[in-house]
């Protein structure tokens, strides 16, 4: 029984699940992303979580950086250069890889605002012409196709993005977000970002 252990250890090492991208050219690209977005791609300071994000959204954004359409300051500073030389197949591989990672919720918003934020997310405020977010982003903030997952992203990222829409920065062409965010005041943005940071 004792002599079988070393063999088992060797077997375990040989059969350990090696990520399919290890050793390929994508491994280096993933590392370049995770320097900022966190080793588990759960987001880190100003860099948003990529884990579990919609693959088509990631692809569209990477193309948007390369084409210099997404033009908020941090995108200009970090992502224009990062995305400039990515080949189309690398864009797709990276997007699929990050989309496949299980996302964790940030839980960094203000708990006291969760109820208000949830009400705005699900129903909007029709009297103030604020649209319900769930119509596009889904009942649990899961997103779909090129529409991003919002549930569980960090409060600071969500708040900053919502503010930037109102400041006239662009993202995808023909996005309804500048219009959708234009009716949101600071209180609504605070509440929405807080609520979403707790969504699983």
């Amino acid at each position: 029984m004792k002599r079988i252990w070393p063999k088992l250890v060797i077997l375990a090492i040989l059969c350990s699940p090696v990520p399919s991208w290890a050793g390929s050219s994508i491994a280096a690209s993933v590392r370049n992303c995770t320097w900022c977005h966190g080793t588990g791609a759960q987001g880190y300071t100003v860099a948003p979580r990529l884990a579990g994000q919609r693959a088509l959204y990631i692809e569209a954004q990477l193309r948007g950086y390369a084409a210099r359409i997404r033009d908020n300051p941090l995108s200009k500073q970090y992502m224009w250069g990062a995305a400039a030389n990515l080949r189309p197949d690398a864009v797709q591989e990276l997007a699929d890889y990050f989309a496949s990672l299980p996302p964790k919720s940030a839980h960094d918003g203000r708990r006291a605002l969760v109820e208000t934020g949830q009400a705005i997310y699900l129903q909007g405020i029709p009297e103030a012409n604020i649209v319900a977010c769930l119509a596009c982003h889904g009942p649990a903030g899961q997103g779909v196709r090129e529409i991003p997952r919002l549930g569980g992203m960090s409060y600071f990222y969500l708040k900053r993005r919502l503010e930037e829409w109102g400041q006239g920065y662009h993202s995808a062409p023909a996005s309804p977000m500048p219009l959708a965010a234009s009716t949101l005041g600071p209180d609504e943005i605070e509440a929405l970002a807080s609520y979403l940071s707790f969504v699983r």
Binding site: Q123, G124, P126, E127, N129, I130, V131, A132, L134, A135, C136, H137, G138, P139, Q142, G143, V144, R145, I147, P176, L179, A180, T183
Partner: protein, 234 residues
Amino acid sequence: MQTIGAFFGGSDRGHQRNDEGRMMKIVGLHSALRTAILAAAFFAALSQAVRADDFQAKLLYCKTCHGLSGQGYHGYYPMPRLAGQQPQYIENQLRAFIEHRRRNAIMANVAHALSPSMLSALAHHFRDLNPPPLGGGGSRGEIATGRRIYEEGLPESNVPACSACHGPDARGQDQIPRLAGQLPDYFYSKLVNWSAERGQNSSMPDSSAVMGPTSHNLTKSQIAAVAAYVSGLR
């Protein structure tokens, strides 16, 4: 200035011979009345202007989801094309959300916040918009099948030709909706779910009942085919 002074003061020297105090009172009353009328007219005009602002703001609110040209939008849920839609149809649907005849959580909230005059004004706005359809309906085979069902119906399944009511060009009439250019996934999800969404208030039966049997007699693939066909019509 002369005219404004005359209007407010109502000064008419012929009347000022005696009993000036009494006259002043009458003149004062006249002037107050005129001021009140003028103020009422002024505020009516002002509130008219505010209503125009309100209308534009509400319109942008609609178009955030339904597209800037009313062309529809593929969100988590498909949001229908409103461009070119029959005003009576839109009006009836908005009322249906309010009266719980049509079930839709998002639109119930939206419609409840509309005054009757706003509701009517919005319904009429979209008629004249004519953006190209978003399309993306389906394969050539599906479109051909859909066209046949649309134009001839399915006699063996007791499905009448869609064109009989929705028109040969699928533009609808009055309460009968335009189907031309409609998002295929919206069209599909409505027809497969017809009896669970429409005619939900038993005390207020409505024209949606007409579509009940037809929606049941069509198979899902037949519905998808008709959706593909009409989604490409201009």
